[in-house]
Symmetry: C2
Subunit: 237 residues, 2 copies
């Protein structure tokens, strides 16, 4: 019997976090080995002396973090190959620079309205009038990030009202245009022509982040950020 977990001796609090931790412990100590079927919600609720909804909440958390695999009728299994999910919070560039103890400012180095280049039109759909902005973000006066951004004017009609000298487009969009979907790509590239802009050698290895965000069916913005050497992304597994 495993009912001891419900007894005063090794009791777990009848809270969903307590149950989550107890089940996590059983996965870790291989009471529930990889691939095994664990008891049903109803059985666990009886064991822990709580409502089924509470067990459900606990197991849902573990499933979302990839440790359990749940299917109706088939039951709940310990994932044989846990999918490691890393959640990375992408801070505003300003915050990122300020967090490093540097004073933030930025320069808009290019600002025009032009058709989307072919490479982007293939991905986003053709658009004869798109807003094109390039910005250099600086920390303590040194260039930190070069940003090349395209904006769909149809998706962001009131951008013209914004004072883009006072607030970066980046930040304006984040504050004003909630997206519903997005993609992020991370790659390592040689600085190349950005070496001059970023004050580093052209062969320096730098991180490039490419993001596209969508609001429903419309793309909002496509942005490619090339970071000065030394930037690292940290995240929690």
């Amino acid at each position: 019997m495993t009912s001891d977990a419900a007894l005063p001796g090794g009791a777990v609090a009848p809270s969903w976090t307590g149950i989550r931790d107890e089940v996590l412990g059983r996965i870790r100590d291989r009471t529930y080995p990889p691939g095994a079927l664990i008891p049903t919600e109803t059985e666990l609720a009886a064991e822990f002396g709580c409502a089924r909804a509470t067990v459900s909440r606990a197991l849902r958390e573990l499933a979302e973090s990839g440790l359990l695999d749940r299917r109706r009728k088939a039951g709940t299994r310990v994932a044989a190959e846990p999918v490691r999910k890393a959640t990375m919070t992408i801070p505003l560039i300003r915050r990122q620079i300020e967090a490093a103890g540097m004073a933030y400012d930025f320069i808009v180095t290019h600002h025009s309205v032009e058709p989307l280049p072919d490479a982007l039109a293939d991905r986003l759909g053709p658009m004869s009038q798109a807003l094109h902005l390039t910005t250099l973000h600086r920390g303590d006066g040194q260039p930190r990030v070069h940003e090349d951004r395209w904006i769909n004017p149809q998706a962001v009609p009131d951008l013209a009202d914004a004072d883009l000298a006072a607030i970066s487009v980046n930040e304006w969009l984040v504050r004003n245009v909630p997206y519903t979907a997005g993609e992020l790509r991370i790659e390592a590239v040689a600085a190349g022509p950005f070496g001059d802009l970023l004050a580093c050698a052209p062969e320096a290895a730098v991180l490039r982040l490419t993001r596209v965000t969508w609001s429903g069916a419309d793309w909002i913005t496509h942005v490619r950020q090339t970071h000065a050497p030394g930037l690292m992304l940290d995240s929690t597994l």
Copy 2:
């Protein structure tokens, strides 16, 4: 009145996903502008004609994705600076290579027991006997990833039983040692001395992933993966 959302005309299903989408729509169309306080759970439940728990589930999802900021007594606000969270699933290297249509194999290039080097001991705590493994993962016979891994033998006592020629340590650990916490760092570096191993120029820009996983208070493994040029990480925002 906003009660029309509960009427047959623009009715939303009384499901938590329906309510989530309706609230998301109101954030997008600025019915609930950035920074604004939205109605309480009780008020929304009345508007949508459902139980408070259902509204709660919907708002919790939006809060977890960073669009809402909830605090007891203070109420629920639309986030003024939504934190963009990217969730990246870290596949097994084997899967990653196979997904690219290549045949996977690997070579263990080093295998020893030695004290932790100082740089790691600072982070993980000193340890006189740690398992040190380096592995070269290949796709179609070409080197794809160089992996330098340290393992805490105390946290993984039965690793010796595993057949490390048949299954990579990487995979054995994923299958057998659930972690409870972890960190991931992503950076761009020049291939340098890994150029030879990865069959690329020493000045090529490559991605380096450094991961540490913990099981409770004990570190399990520290691994530094240097990927051959061309690897990109994709994720969903």
